[in-house]
Amino acid sequence: MPLSRCARTYLVDELVELVGRGLVKGRGRGRVLITTEPISFYGGIDPETGRIVERGHELYGESVSGSVLVFPYGKGSTVGSYTLLRLARRGLAPAGIVNAESEPIIVVGCLLGGIPLMDRPTPDPFSLKGIINGLEAEIVIEGCKGVLRVQRDARGSQRAREGSA
């Protein structure tokens, strides 16, 4: 890939763009909530509040509602698909999901709940965790292509400066 295209992909100052495989179509907007740990939607997330309740999980106590949730893959019972459906019908679902590699629990759950889903994103979001976590993002899935655009706004830059200070 020529350097100029690479550069356009993710070196733009105010925008990080991740491109991947589109699995469930739709679009959504929310803050990036990212973890390198797999998520069990059955038993790991409370279907009535959208909070992560798996003890010891990196995101324990956080709400996935309205976020663009980025995690490697799903784990645990297959009944987890119903949790995504339940969250969606209560208006508590993530605005979109990005996986390293999706497996059937998440795919079926997103299809049932109408939650935009993509996987195999490049560049690797987990290597950008500290940069993109908490930032506003838009996820757009059309056909077999998924795009996640993360806005590096003033607040994000400021936080980055604070972090380095």
Partner: protein
């Protein structure tokens, strides 16, 4: 096909194709039956029940004979199980929707006893212990499908043609040589713990059991063994010499030789000195096992409460045995089980079981569990 029904079916098909794609399946394959799990009201919630009702309302019907896993309570004895009016209504709505779509209300994890598949049949089954039985014992072909996904597969009558549907995936991936533990397993009758061990050490693929302990040929032992494999791994098939119709050994396979200490470690991890009840029936007891149990307990007095879970079909087939057991004070329940039901509502908090699968799931729900062979458990119960 037009209208809501056509749209609903197209959506279901799209979902099955999507999952086939991510699994790398080149196409779908027609299945002869489906088995749906995860239908307890606790799993579904109000939203999940509404979803099933909408499918039924659209006029969608299962394309193949479809059975369902245990629900949250016994349809006749729910009063004893602390089930509230709201929970009862929710569960019945889910079952009604499934029945409207054509499901047989088997409410059991042992559909293969009621409608046994034939050798070579392709299935879309979602209960791991039943999938292991179908593949390993009957030579039928199913992957371990997800509960919600199996609803969609049943509607389209097709499954992704991948994994255990294909000849290549049904060959052994590793050989388990049990020579160092066979005598111990036979003497202690630890078939369920053996299954848990097989799952733990192999993890995935298709293990071949060379020269297995003879007691595995007893159907009850075989069922708790296979259920335990399913609980501790993602394995969907075990090739057991003398039992599995497709058993073969090929050259150059990795060999694993477990030690007695591997097995005692599992038994030690589920030890609970004082328990308040014994529970049997994970998987659901067969008519033969109910009869055997009634015979073994004949003329004895129970020292501890004994709970037995079975399918309604088994309870009807072995009606006399069930009546005898109940007259002795044994609490026999159908349509549900110790894992999807609610043992604590029955007053059980620390229990002994002969099933490592039950031990695994009950401990994860916070129960104190002792794992012991059925013989030892019954000794303890009748004192």
């Amino acid at each position: 096909m037009k209208g809501a029904r056509g749209e609903g079916l197209a959506e279901a098909l799209e979902a099955v194709v999507k999952v086939a794609e991510i699994l790398g399946a080149p196409r779908l394959i027609k299945v002869v039956s489906a088995h749906i799990s995860g239908i307890s009201y606790r799993n579904l919630g109000v939203e999940g029940v509404e979803y099933l009702e909408e499918l039924a309302e659209k006029g969608l019907r299962f394309a193949v004979p479809t059975t369902i896993n245990p629900a949250g309570f016994d349809m006749e004895r729910y009063g004893e199980m602390g089930v509230g009016v709201r929970e009862h209504e929710l569960q019945m709505r889910a079952l009604k929707a499934l029945a409207r779509m054509g499901a047989q209300a088997t409410l059991s994890c042992t559909p293969y006893l009621i409608y046994p598949p034939r050798f070579g049949d392709h299935l879309a089954w979602a209960e791991s212990s039943a999938v292991l039985y179908a593949n390993s014992v009957l030579g039928a072909r199913s992957n371990r499908e997800g509960g919600p996904f199996s609803v969609l597969e049943a509607l389209v009558g097709r499954a992704p043609y991948v994994g255990l549907h294909t000849d290549e995936a049904r060959k052994p991936s590793v050989v388990l040589d049990l020579r160092r533990i066979r005598d111990f397993v036979e003497a202690s009758r630890s078939y369920s713990a053996l299954g848990y061990l097989v799952g733990e050490v192999v993890g995935k693929g298709v293990p071949a059991l060379h020269d297995p302990p003879g007691g595995l040929k007893e159907p009850g032992n075989l069922r708790v063994f296979l259920a335990a494999v399913g609980a501790s791994s993602s394995i969907g098939m075990v090739l057991i010499e003398g039992i599995s119709p497709e058993f073969t050994l090929s050259e150059g396979l990795e060999r694993i030789e477990p030690e007695v200490s591997d097995l005692t470690e599992i038994l030690e991890s589920w030890r609970c000195e004082d328990f308040d009840a014994a529970v049997l029936g994970c998987p659901h007891l067969s008519p033969d096992e109910l009869l055997d149990l009634a015979n073994r307990l004949k003329g004895k007095t129970l020292r501890k409460p004994l709970f037995v879970f079975t399918s309604r079909w088994s309870a009807v087939v072995a009606r006399a045995a069930v009546e005898k057991l109940r007259s002795m004070g044994v609490r026999v329940y159908s349509d549900t089980c110790m894992v999807v039901g609610n043992l604590s509502a029955l007053g059980v908090h620390r229990c002994a079981t002969d099933s490592a699968k039950a031990a695994y799931y009950l401990s994860s729900q916070g129960y104190k569990v002792a794992l012991m062979p059925r013989e030892a458990l019954l000794e303890y119960v009748i004192g």
